[in-house]
């Protein structure tokens, strides 16, 4: 029991940092760069993706025995597209202002390779419980990445966060950050930062190992 709970926890947590779908695996970038010009848009997109990923992983893991191998990709895509359509209409009905901002990028969640990737690599091979845990973790990582990008771009590009002015006019916003080039540059620099952190960690672990060797 403890073992299985531990595994649940592992599947949940790995997506957030170690296997972060955006920062580490560099997947699902097209929806994420286009809508991250403000934190609120980023979160809305992240939530829509979370709904689609968790829903499809649940269904795929439940019905995996009945889906023949030859047509599995088509079945996955039908399932994903259905969830995306549901998300699209729900968002349009409930929060039309956000839907207007995200616009055509909601249907494009279908083409987010991360979602199809999780079905193929994980949900179709694991129990329902693990698949949902994995989907939750991966989506959390995706939301985290979107939010980081959206927040950085909004703070630098509009001088605000969630629409609340942060600097009281004392800061001249870098408009370029909320324009398309800002998306590329910010993600490029964040990947650089991730590489740097990983690199430092490796050096640190090496030193620890060395110290242990010389100590003993």
């Amino acid at each position: 029991m403890i073992e299985s709970e531990n595994q649940d926890y592992n599947e949940l947590i790995k997506g957030i940092w170690r296997d972060n779908p955006v920062f580490v695996q560099v997947l699902g970038m097209c929806p994420m760069l286009a809508v991250t010009n403000s934190a609120i848009n980023a979160i809305a997109m992240g939530m829509a993706t979370l709904f689609v990923l968790v829903g499809s992983s649940f269904l795929v893991a439940t019905f995996k025995k009945w889906i023949p191998k030859q047509i599995r990709i088509s079945c996955f895509i039908i399932i994903i597209a259905t969830f995306v359509t549901v998300a699209d209409y729900t968002l349009l009905a409930l929060i039309p202002t956000v839907h207007k901002e995200l616009g055509a990028f909601i249907p494009l969640i279908v083409a987010n390779c991360m979602i199809l990737g999780r079905q193929e690599a994980f949900a179709s091979k694991n129990t329902v419980r693990l698949a949902v845990m994995d989907a939750l973790g991966m989506s959390a990582g995706f939301v985290f990445a979107l939010f980081t990008l959206g927040a950085v771009r909004e703070i630098l590009g509009s001088g605000s966060l969630f629409g609340v002015d942060l600097f009281g006019g004392a800061f001249e916003p870098w408009i370029i950050m909320i324009l398309p080039p800002g998306g590329f540059l910010t993600l490029g620099l964040i990947l650089f930062f991730f590489n740097w952190v990983t690199h430092r960690r490796e050096i640190f672990l090496e030193r620890v190992a060395e110290a242990e060797r010389s100590g003993s």
Binding site: W66, I67, P68, Q70, I71, S74, C75, I78, I79, A81, T82, T85, V86, Y89, T90, L92, A93, L94, P96, G157, S158, P173, I175, I178, L179
Partner: protein, 229 residues
Amino acid sequence: MTEIITANRPDAEADPPPIRLIATLALAGLISGVAIVGIFEATFETIAVNKARELRAAVFKVLPGVSQMQELTYADEQLVPVTEGMSSENSIYAGYDKELNFVGYAIPGEGPGFQDTIKLLYGYIPADRKVMGMEVLESRETPGLGDKIYKDDVFVGSFRDLPIDPIIEVVKKGRGGKDNQVDAITGATISSRAVVRIINENNAKWLDNLPSPGSEPGLRVETNEVVHD
């Protein structure tokens, strides 16, 4: 359907016969179709209400004093209210005040801006030959510069009480002074010009064909657009 599937499946590990593949796909498609139609039916009304409310808000904004509206289009060279089943592609909106008197038209227009197509709606009073207000519905102009075409109150305000004859002109700030001139936004001359050009183009397209002042179509109550603000 499941019976067909199992009957044609002697062994789970072997290649399943094509009928089973087709049946599974058909079943998946069927379930997905039901789900999609379900969500569409469930949200249809809210979405329609939201859209109508948004449009009405825009029309009331560009035509001050208006409290009711209806959509008009040309059929047999006559401006008639749009009824259900009619194409609403090429239409304008008529605004009426509380006593159901005709006030003016709200005309939608679109055209290339600095970055992408700008869509807007403007109010026009035929009796005075004046533009009464302008509202940008959709644009992707540069934040901080081009987006002033809807964020800058002075620019938006200059479309109130703006005579359209002989044509609306854009001038640099402080260079104008005539009634039919609009001051361009500093740093966003191109976006400012685009807005004015869209209005001029739609004036040319619509104004000559409008019924003479006084003979505008009255409000059809059946259209049920009657909502008091």
